[in-house]
């Protein structure tokens, strides 16, 4: 069991993700998580305000089921397949984070400075969470895909729009990590 309970290496995870993509196409669908956000809007009645959301969302049910499965997968991995919550980060990363005000990096999956209940209930913490979400959702739909649709499927399929989008993902991610995060905590 140890090979299951230890953290999985990149050369295990990458091929499994490619296999997940393969299976979704084999089952006659596609791999793209962020389109579920539009489906949520359609289910919530956004079609009454914006024609863009007037779709038959039931056609995307399979993708909602996929997402529901991923929640269960997260639960299974957390409760039964992981002995602890630590992440073996580069020691330099831990130091860099301490320097910008994020302590105890790597002792759990997520920083308390962003994800603890106390932080969530503070105005600043709430704004960080919701603004991060808005940028992800708006950006993904504007770009026409997220990490799954562009970085995995699009790059695999050698599509130029996906390469440009992934370059964009990195421009935004680098700006946030190097210049904005140090100002926030």
């Amino acid at each position: 069991m140890e090979f299951i309970t230890q953290p999985w290496a990149w050369y295990v995870a990458g091929p499994i993700i490619a296999f997940v993509m393969f299976l979704l196409y084999y089952f006659g669908e596609r791999f793209g998580v962020s389109s579920n956000l539009e489906t949520f809007c359609s289910i919530g009645g956004a079609g009454k305000f914006v024609d863009y959301f007037k779709i038959d969302w039931k056609e995307n049910s399979w993708n909602l089921i996929f997402v529901a499965g991923s929640i269960v997968g997260g639960f299974i991995a957390f409760y039964w397949l992981s002995p602890n919550d630590a992440v073996a980060l580069n020691p330099q990363t831990v130091q860099d984070l301490a320097a910008i005000g994020i302590q105890n990096a790597g002792t759990s999956y997520l920083p308390d400075e962003i994800f603890s209940i106390d932080t969530m209930l503070s105005l600043k913490g709430f704004l960080i969470l919701i603004i991060a979400g808005i940028m992800v959702g708006f950006g993904a739909r504007w770009a026409g895909g997220c990490t799954s649709g562009h970085a995995i499927v699009g790059l695999s399929n050698l599509e130029l729009p996906s390469l440009i989008s992934v370059i964009g993902f990195f421009i935004g991610g680098l700006i946030m990590t190097w210049f904005i995060l140090p100002l926030l905590f």
């Binding site: 953290p7 993700i17 490619a18 296999f19 993509m21 979704l24 089952f27 596609r30 962020s34 949520f40 809007c41 914006v50 959301f53 993708n63 996929f66 499965g69 991923s70 929640i71 269960v72 997968g73 997260g74 299974i76 991995a77 957390f78 992981s82 992440v87 980060l89 330099q92 990363t93 790597g106 962003i114 994800f115 209940i117 969470l129 979400g133 808005i134 992800v136 959702g137 950006g139 993904a140 504007w142 770009a143 026409g144 997220c146 990490t147 799954s148 970085a151 995995i152 699009g154 790059l155 695999s156 729009p161 440009i164 989008s165 993902f169 935004g172 946030m176 190097w178 904005i180 995060l181």
Partner: protein, 137 residues
């Protein structure tokens, strides 16, 4: 019952996202600081193997389980949409430390705060739909 296979594939996806620490905020930070090969290895190896899948689909050597040809829908082209949308997405990805897939997986760990991020992402998708015609694409 035709949906159960998607549920099972989703479980596999959730487990690998979790076990390979892809859902860890810290791993995303580390990636953007270029301090670990981990995330690059994951995305890189998935893309290389993905290319083989795409080749098999294109050459019709693999069809769906129902025997239909597999066509990959091409992404919408537009320098502004891809670059500006991509940059906005990247800003959010590095701040939340999670892209849409991991957001859902984190619910399975009992992370309440991620629900606010998911609500924000849904709101973001709605705002895009609302402002779509005013944006450069």
């Amino acid at each position: 019952m035709k949906y159960i296979k998607f549920f099972l594939v989703g479980i596999l996806f959730g487990i690998v996202m979790s076990k390979a620490e892809i859902i860890s905020w810290f791993r995303i930070y580390e990636m953007f600081k270029f301090q670990s090969f981990h995330m690059y290895g994951i995305i890189g190896s998935a893309v290389v193997l993905g290319m083989i899948s795409m080749f098999l689909f294109r050459k019709k050597m693999v069809k769906t389980f129902e025997g239909n040809e597999i066509h990959i829908a091409l992404k919408k082209v537009g320098l502004y949409r891809n670059l500006l949308g991509g940059i906005l997405f990247g800003l959010g990805w590095a701040l939340a430390g999670a892209c849409p897939g991991p957001m859902f997986v984190l619910i399975g760990r009992g992370i309440v705060a991620i629900l606010i991020v998911i609500f924000g992402a849904t709101l973001g998708a709605f705002l895009y739909g609302l402002l779509k015609n005013k944006l450069p694409h």
